[in-house]
Symmetry: C2
Subunit: 250 residues, 2 copies
């Protein structure tokens, strides 16, 4: 990888900077080093929490990151809804739902699906399904397959529930979060760089690495978080692989 | 359609014989007439109820049908599990779950998904997902998209939740119920006829009509239940279309 052409860095959060509530060894220092060398934005498909909540958690762990440096799938979803209409049926956690409270009421209808956790009830899914069958459009704030929960167990992320609504309704979701090209392009715009001048660092070979590459960026894999050795046998070639964020060298 | 070659009749239940708790006009007499002329089996993908419960409901509505004439997706699922192993993680209603209580314990692992309704909780889906990620295989007792509930509202059927687990786990479900060719072939075997000698009557153009045709049978559509006029524009040509079961003439 030619590091001389790097003008900006995008970086995933969970599974790259920390796991559970603990920073990976050397991660706080690695963030300091990257920020000293490049403009950096921290991107997350976590739709359980708003950017402000994400930043509080990062700061509590010692990361020198502020809210303006974080872009979440909820931010991009809100921008999308503001541009098109003001209302939707939401499948989200309570916190994430409140983030949309200031949207104006409007007649057009979307269904927004994030990582709603226990709010993925049959009743709530049925309400969303009926909105789609009545002409609504499906927005996936994210379409991740699974994540590691606070006990380290793999748990279903929003993706499966998006797939459930797609199958039942016959509609195809518009995906807002990673690996949507829109999300990566928006982050590059925010940094004022072209995609080929940016690198994306993440632990998800599909969403972070292949997604960034599809947007014209370079994708760098770290072997923490949800990384598994079999990920390297799935036909996706990262531009670089490092054991952890602390080992990222450029 | 050449009716002279019909030697047996397969017939869907909900949406063909009755809606809610009420037989369609002329349906009881139509069943009597069909049974007088042909051997008949009543097939249902309903995985909320066992065959015995289905029959009780039919008899209460006046249908002269007994348990030996009903084949449910749960029956075929139980046969499948008995042949291969004795245990599974079940996503089903309480009644349907009890139907599997007499299976022997065994080490091999399946996940069985039926129309679990309110039992489709995030916790239960996650348990099923983790079984799959630990090497389990996914069985869809049925993969229907939706059904009309007792209030006449469209509601999500098992299919969406099968799709959710497929997406999250990366595995493909083995479908047991309609439109699985296995299900139709098993019904033909039970009647001692070849598929081309049987017709299937149903209200679901995909599962009943296209499914039966894929199994080598003729598929007859009735315009009751979940039928909608747009169904006839989906590239599937029923061998015959009748306004209702009462109008079926052969």
């Amino acid at each position: 990888m030619d590091t001389s052409t790097i003008k900006a860095v995008l970086c995933d959060i969970g599974g790259v900077l920390y796991e559970g509530n603990t920073p990976y060894p050397g991660a706080v220092e690695a963030v300091r080093r990257l920020k000293a060398a490049y403009p950096v934005r921290f991107l997350t498909n976590t739709t359980q929490k708003t950017g402000e909540q994400v930043v509080v958690k990062l700061q509590n762990m010692g990361f020198g990151i502020d809210a303006s440096e974080v872009i979440t799938a909820l931010d991009v979803t809100k921008t999308f809804l503001k541009q098109r209409c003001g209302t939707a049926t939401f499948l989200l956690t309570e916190d994430a739902r409140r983030f949309f409270d200031d949207l104006a009421e409007a007649p057009c209808r979307y269904v927004v699906v994030g990582d709603a956790q226990e709010n993925f009830t049959y009743a709530a899914l049925n309400e969303a399904f009926r909105t789609l069958m009545a002409g609504g459009e499906l927005l996936a704030a994210a379409k991740n397959r699974y994540f590691k929960d606070h006990e380290g167990k793999l748990s279903m992320d929003a993706g499966g529930f998006v797939a459930a609504l797609e199958y039942a309704s016959g509609k195809t979701a518009h995906v807002i979060g990673k690996p949507s090209v829109d999300f990566y392009r928006l982050a590059c715009d925010a940094l004022g760089v072209r995609p080929e001048e940016a690198v994306m660092i993440g632990d998800d070979i599909e969403s972070d690495v292949a997604g960034a590459q599809a947007a014209g960026m370079r994708g760098i894999l770290v072997e923490t978080g949800k990384f598994a050795p079999a990920d390297l046998e799935r036909g996706i070639a990262p531009d670089a692989v490092f054991p952890s964020i602390a080992a990222v060298a450029f």
